[in-house]
């Protein structure tokens, strides 16, 4: 694989006795759309949380855009990264969460403009213009003045997507973004994400159980089990002709559920 934007090199993580990631190595190319599937507890969400610097690995290195994520060079040595390095690295990446996590103290528009103003240094006008465009794209142009508590889950998640895109990230992490939603509301969020995949040149890592969506947007699907990738293939191949027994079993259970 050439021009890898993200590389995991023998990354390990355990919580107590449970091995969450087992010497995991894989890479993601710039602009690639990768879906992570697998049973719960197989390490998918941990991977996204590590890329967002919310969880540190116990061992191994993660590289983003050619630079180690959790280490910085001091002289010739690599030392654990300080807040300044982490902030520089976070510029590449942002994340949409399962529970939306909008800021309840801000109206919809300000949820989307706040970080561009305070983090990217945009003027209030620039930020508002960018936010209005994105909120229009996610179908919420008429709810700019609402508080998150006044929106449905699906609407909140669409605001969260707009909020993430307003940062113009290189990498967009989607962590089970429709798992907390009714099927109908999930569908409207997935439609928005299909739009995003079509119009934005952004690398996407997506943890989801929405298999049809995964098939539509991904270039590659990674099947996880017990902290390892047991199968990696383009969606048509992985869904229609899975090589691994565990993959077949998992896909059967997901189809049954939906």
């Amino acid at each position: 694989m050439t021009a890898e934007l993200i590389a995991f090199d023998r990354v390990g993580k355990r919580f107590g006795d449970a091995v969450v990631l087992d010497d995991l190595s894989f890479g993601v190319g710039a602009g690639e759309r990768v879906t992570l599937i697998g049973p719960s507890g197989s390490g998918k969400t941990t991977i996204l949380r590590m890329l967002m610097t919310l969880t540190r690995p116990d061992s191994g290195t993660i590289t983003v855009a050619g630079e180690p994520l959790f280490h910085e060079k001091r002289g010739d040595a690599l030392v654990p990264a300080g807040e300044q390095h982490l902030r520089a690295m976070r510029r590449h990446t942002t994340m949409v969460f399962q529970q939306y996590n909008l800021f309840p103290n801000m109206r919809v528009l300000r949820n989307v403009t706040e970080a561009p103003v305070h983090v990217l240094g945009l003027s209030a006008d620039e930020a508002e213009e960018r936010a209005r465009g994105l909120l229009d794209m996610v179908g919420l142009a008429d709810r700019l003045d609402a508080y998150p508590s006044q929106l449905s889950g699906g609407q909140q998640q669409r605001v969260a997507i707009a909020r993430a895109l307003a940062m113009r990230p290189d990498v967009l992490l989607l962590d089970e973004v429709t798992s907390a939603l009714d099927p109908e509301l999930a569908a409207e969020v997935l439609d928005v994400l299909r739009d995003v995949a079509r119009t934005f040149d952004v690398t996407m890592l997506c943890v989801t159980h929405a298999m049809k969506f995964a098939r539509d947007v991904s270039d590659r699907v990674l099947m996880f089990n017990e902290g390892r990738i047991i199968e990696s293939a383009p969606p048509d191949e992985l869904f229609d002709a899975p090589k691994h027994d565990r993959t077949r079993q998992f896909l059967r259970s997901v189809i049954e559920e939906s």
Partner: protein, 225 residues
Amino acid sequence: MSTGLWLRLLDGLLVTLELTVFGAAIGLVFAFAAGLARLSPNRVLRGVALAYTEGFRGLPALVVLFWLVFALPGLGLQLEPLFAGVLALSLNIGAYGAEVVRGAVVSVPTAQLEAATALNFTPWQRMRLVVLPQALVAMVPPFGNLLVELLKATALVSLVYLQDLTFQGQIVRAATGDTAATFAGLLVGYGVIALVLTRLVKLVERRAAASLGHTTRPRAVEGAR
């Protein structure tokens, strides 16, 4: 009762209100400084704040007051009496307030901090833009309780000859000889001030709820049905 005595009571009321308002204002400063310091990554700051909160929650406000008014001058530091009263009260109420601040900040869900991290806010921006505005809403009701506690504690200053409502009440009692009526009047007086303060806090509470997009909530009632 003569006009002079009524004026005395009015003067006393003003002193009591001054003590309450300034005590609350400076108490808030202590509460935020100590409450946020308790959450600081800096061990020294945390230690100082812990010593303050644990120390002053354990000390009777009256003893602190005696110390500031009667002991400090012996060490060559004479505080203006009203200032000494305000300082003693605010040191005491600030120690309780610090726990309110700390508790409210900690009660903001971790998910909010993670969302703020994902948007690359600095640690201070996370606190200022995301955590504190939400924590403030949670602080209002317990701060309201502390405010009434503070009002009641102001009566202590009459023991160091500050001429607050209680002190003037004693003068009136001595002048008229009517103990029952005077103290009944004081009780009503403090009660009315407390009622006004509680009303004001309710208004602030409603404002705070609105800052999260909630209307005043009959929700608790609905839940009880």
